[in-house]
Amino acid sequence: MERPVLEVRHFHAWFGNHEVVRDVNLSLQRHKVIAIMGPSGCGKTTFLRCINRMHELAPDARTQGEILLEGENIYQMSPIMLRLRVGMVFQRPNPFPHLTIYENVLAGYLLNNIALSRTEKDAIVEDSLRKAALWNEVKDNLRKKGSFLSGGQQQRLCIARAIAMKPDILLLDEPTSALDPISTAGIEELTQELKKNYTLILVTHNMQQAARVSDDTAFFYMGELVEFAPTRQMFTAPKDQRTQNYITGRFS
């Protein structure tokens, strides 16, 4: 079997004394969409934020255990370098309002003072916008501000900004929760294209979305990874009663 792109070993995360992620063990294969679902407060977003070390930015936050990216312990890397390899897209589209569409795509390079030639910049912008399925809609307006776009377009711009850095993994934290159904369908379709080049980890409250777009699904409950299985199995014959109760809406 191919080496996993991400391997999580006995991983815990705390806010102060409150343990929000408990002893998670997980192995993720590349070029897949992995959905993480669970009720509010189950630790799924915290776990996602641990993967690019954003969790530790919170006061009193700490972790224990290992997360290996391509076999390398992320806690022994520079967080900045890690975040270049693990991109993140948030719930609400957050393009930099003062930057143009063109500059937004290149923001990761600009903020990290990575020098690029004009030709390299043009190539990265076009390639990223094409991969984010936004190129045709914005190619004539690259010098306009990102905030001029619709919600769904802004979210695709944020995806383009993340993939411009050529990450191994793309973290998506409820990326469609602020979008209308048509924009949501657009982003969901995009995930299927993106997984050809990247591994996507998607936190979602929308179980049908997890069922539609993911190859594997993880179910978190009270900080614990209850079940991790191919999505088809998870939604037809889950092994754990807690998973079944959650996905069938019988959770008390």
């Binding site: 069922a211 939604f235 079944q244 996905i247």
Partner: protein
């Protein structure tokens, strides 16, 4: 109870009602055959339309639940199983209708000795019990009872295999009416299919409760 749970409970109640109606059809055809009651046989044929209408009603309920609630896990398996169970029950009712038509086609009452010697009566009793036991298994989610159907179907299959030889022997002896012998053989063939339908029903119950697919597998493996 959530709206989905309520809809699923209503569906389950309706499937059980369909099951009872189909059992009643098969029993009535049995009685019509034994008592050579052609009015009762015609009644079975009339009631077949009600079964068909009920099949459509259950299909519509399934469509509605799929469209509105997008069920998953045990609920999805239940719904998929019900869609097949519904079709199996309708086909079983068709078989009862077919037997009733043979009663109407028979010019004289069936010879009790012929029904006995061909094991038709044993097959009929076994078929009725298998059908009602699958209903009980469905109601109680009792997969042990569902599994018991597989062995009983083999008994029915064995009777069916013997039937041709028995009927040929009767014909060679020249003491039986050819038409009646052929009608009895046709009813036996129909009952063999009731056994197959009961087996299909049992497979769907096991799929729904245990998430195991037994179709096209050796039943011992399940």
């Amino acid at each position: 109870m959530t709206a989905l749970e309520h809809a699923l409970k209503e569906l389950k109640d309706d499937v059980i009602l369909m099951w009872i109606m189909v059992e009643a059809q098969l029993e009535a055809a049995h009685k019509a055959m034994l008592e050579y009651d052609q009015d009762l046989a015609r009644e079975v044929m009339q009631k077949e339309k009600r079964i068909n209408a009920y099949e459509l009603k259950i299909d519509e309920q399934c469509e509605d639940i799929l469209a509105r609630y997008q069920p998953v896990a045990v609920d999805l398996r239940f719904l998929l199983a019900v869609l097949k169970i519904n079709a199996n029950l309708e086909r079983t009712a068709d078989i009862a209708d077919g037997i009733a038509r043979y009663v109407i086609d028979a010019p004289t009452p069936f010879e009790p000795a012929l029904l006995q010697s061909t094991h038709l009566l044993d097959m009929y009793t076994q078929s009725l019990t298998m059908l009602s036991d699958t209903r009980i298994a469905f109601q109680r989610e009792d997969t042990a009872l569902a599994r018991s159907i597989f062995q009983r179907d083999e008994i029915i299959d064995a009777y069916n295999l013997q039937a041709l030889d028995i009927v040929c022997a009767h014909l060679q002896e020249g003491k039986a009416s050819i038409r009646q012998e052929l009608l009895v053989l046709s009813i036996i063939r129909k009952l063999e299919r009731v056994g197959d339908q009961a087996k299909n029903l049992a497979e769907e119950i096991i799929f729904y409760v245990e998430a195991k697919v037994l179709k096209h597998h050796s039943k011992q493996e399940g």
